[in-house]
């Protein structure tokens, strides 16, 4: 394809890509001018004004900080717990057999479905919400650590035994290289789940700060502009968490790329 051909195909892509957003914005504006639908479809200008107001008053930043703090607490508690349980189950057949069926059964309960039970036990406190985040983080970490330990090549362990490698060498040379890629996948999932569980728990057990509570209150007040600013910030934060993890993760896992490129 010639340079001009590529350029024109890029323009075409760009034009096509902007069709739907433009169409959506137009229909939104039409709906916001119609008296019958304007209850929900707030004029875009008002939406922008609310966004500016929520940011300027510090309300949005405060809510985001409160939500992210819960996510972080849940991750800090849930990741090590999940890794320890999963790795132990992967290493010991007996432990796997003893805990596996129970854990597997518990895992099937959707974590947000536990909200009423946890709400009864812990009220609408932050403890209840962090517990839900913890659960959302715990299971994917258990699974990935388990998978990782299980995938350690047993032949290599035998070789290590023959060569009389000590335990620390076995862990750093054999176990970690097998486990880390699994943990990487598990952690990326856990971070996404943690954020969803934070917002969900704030919406279901609404009290205290947080974006979920902010949106819930916006809904109760019929303020779609507030709700939409909430949705937007939730999506942006989710995107931000994902990108941040990608950056840090790629840096930590760069040895693996080296290994790949060396073939």
């Amino acid at each position: 394809m010639t340079a001009r051909g590529i350029a024109s195909s890029n323009v075409r892509r760009w034009l096509l890509g902007s069709t739907i957003p433009l169409a959506l914005a137009t229909s939104w504006m039409i709906l916001s001018h119609d008296r019958r639908t304007s209850y929900a479809f707030v004029p875009l200008g008002q939406m922008a004004a609310s966004a500016v107001e929520l940011v300027a008053s510090g309300e949005l930043v405060g809510a985001l900080a409160a939500s992210l703090a819960k996510t972080a607490t849940g991750l800090v508690l849930g990741v090590p717990a999940g890794v320890v349980v999963g790795a132990s189950m992967g290493a010991s057949r007996s432990l796997d057999r003893a805990l596996g069926p129970l854990l597997h059964a518990f895992r099937q309960v959707p974590y947000l479905g536990l909200a009423p039970l946890i709400g009864l036990w812990f009220g609408v406190s932050d403890v209840a919400k962090v517990l839900l985040v913890f659960l959302a983080v715990f299971y994917p970490m258990v699974l990935s650590a388990y998978e990782g330990v299980r995938n350690v090549d047993s032949k290599l362990i035998d070789v290590a035994r023959v060569l009389k490698l000590d335990a620390s060498q076995v862990v750093t040379k054999l176990v970690l290289p097998s486990v880390l890629p699994h943990l990487y996948t598990g952690l990326s999932q856990a971070i996404a789940f943690a954020w969803i569980a934070t917002i969900g728990s704030e919406m279901l057990l609404h009290a205290g700060g947080g974006v979920g509570t902010l949106m819930q209150m916006g809904e109760a007040a019929g303020r779609l502009d507030v709700v939409f600013v909430g949705v937007l910030s939730v999506a942006l934060a989710s995107f931000g968490l994902d990108s941040l993890f990608g950056l840090v993760g790629r840096h930590v896992m760069r040895w693996r790329d080296d290994a790949w490129s060396r073939g």
Binding site: R12, S18, I20, R97, A98, G113, W121, I199, M203, A235
Partner: protein, 279 residues
């Protein structure tokens, strides 16, 4: 991440785990212990639960004896109340998931086969995928009200993206060479679809369906917790408000059982497909 199940439930690992590790010769006691091992944790849990209630370590508002939960379960079952709630929830799931998965499948295939469709949809697609479904619940309630429509839309949104992505990936991973060979040999469209496109994409789509069913189920229960006149979520929420821990626990139990059944159902389909593919 490939989610292989724990312990004994996987046929691949079954031969390895059916005997104690390092077993030499026949030791009946060891073997018995190994057989009973999976029952240990649930038994301990049940014992701890009973003891907590028996010795009144917590208030009865917070925890009731296992027998009470079982009795409530039986009562909800015989009065048909449970069946009514479950029926409503599953109907919502079927409608929302049916619409979302069908739409996702259609869009995924369209995006993977047509460059124009991909260019048209992908910016919105990538943006919308970043929005956690749970965050949309308040907005959807404001737009559609608290009636059924908002639940269908929530479930459809949750099921749409995993299936669309799976279908997209499924078509994309067909090696270019296969399509070229098919074109060179002037393969009729019908044969191309039945012999290449469907066998290559179906496993991906089924995996996507498994993810999306799980997410849809959770999001449905969550939206019933927020606003509903019936359904498992509403049953639990009412239980919570009236401090009926037994009703809540039955609800949690059924929610888990449904999740398990949905997952096991799709897994069975996956296994069948694998056998069929190898044949």
């Amino acid at each position: 991440m490939s989610v292989r199940s724990f312990g004994m439930s996987q046929p691949v690992t079954a031969p390895a785990t059916s005997a104690p590790p390092g077993e030499v010769g026949f030791d009946p006691w060891r073997k018995l212990g190994w057989l009973l091992l999976p029952a240990l944790a649930p038994t301990l849990l049940l014992a701890a639960w009973s003891a907590t209630v028996r010795f009144e370590l917590v208030s009865p508002q917070v925890l009731v004896p296992p027998a009470k939960v079982a009795a409530t379960f039986a009562r909800l079952l015989t009065t048909g109340e449970l069946a009514r709630h479950l029926g409503r929830s599953l109907t919502r799931l079927a409608i929302g998931f049916g619409a979302g998965a069908t739409g996702g499948l259609a869009l995924g295939i369209a995006m993977s086969t047509s460059k124009s469709v991909e260019a048209l949809v992908s910016p919105v697609f990538r943006l919308a995928r970043q929005v956690p479904t749970i965050a949309l619940i308040p907005a959807l309630i404001l737009v559609f009200g608290v009636e059924e429509t908002f639940k269908f839309v929530v479930v459809a949104k949750a099921s749409f993206f995993p299936v669309a992505l799976a279908a997209f990936e499924g078509v994309r991973q067909i090696p270019r060479a296969y399509l070229d060979v098919a074109a060179v040999n002037c393969l009729p469209t019908r044969v191309l679809v039945t012999k290449l496109l469907v066998p290559a994409t179906v496993p991906h789509v089924v995996a996507g369906v498994r993810t999306s069913l799980g997410r849809s189920w959770m999001i449905l229960v969550a939206s019933e917790l927020v606003a509903a006149d019936s359904g498992l979520g509403q049953m639990m929420e009412m239980g919570r408000q009236m401090f009926r821990i037994d009703v809540v626990m039955v609800g949690v139990f059924i929610t888990g059982a449904v999740g398990l059944a949905l997952d096991a159902g799709v897994r069975t389909v996956e296994r069948r497909l694998n056998q069929w593919q190898r044949a």
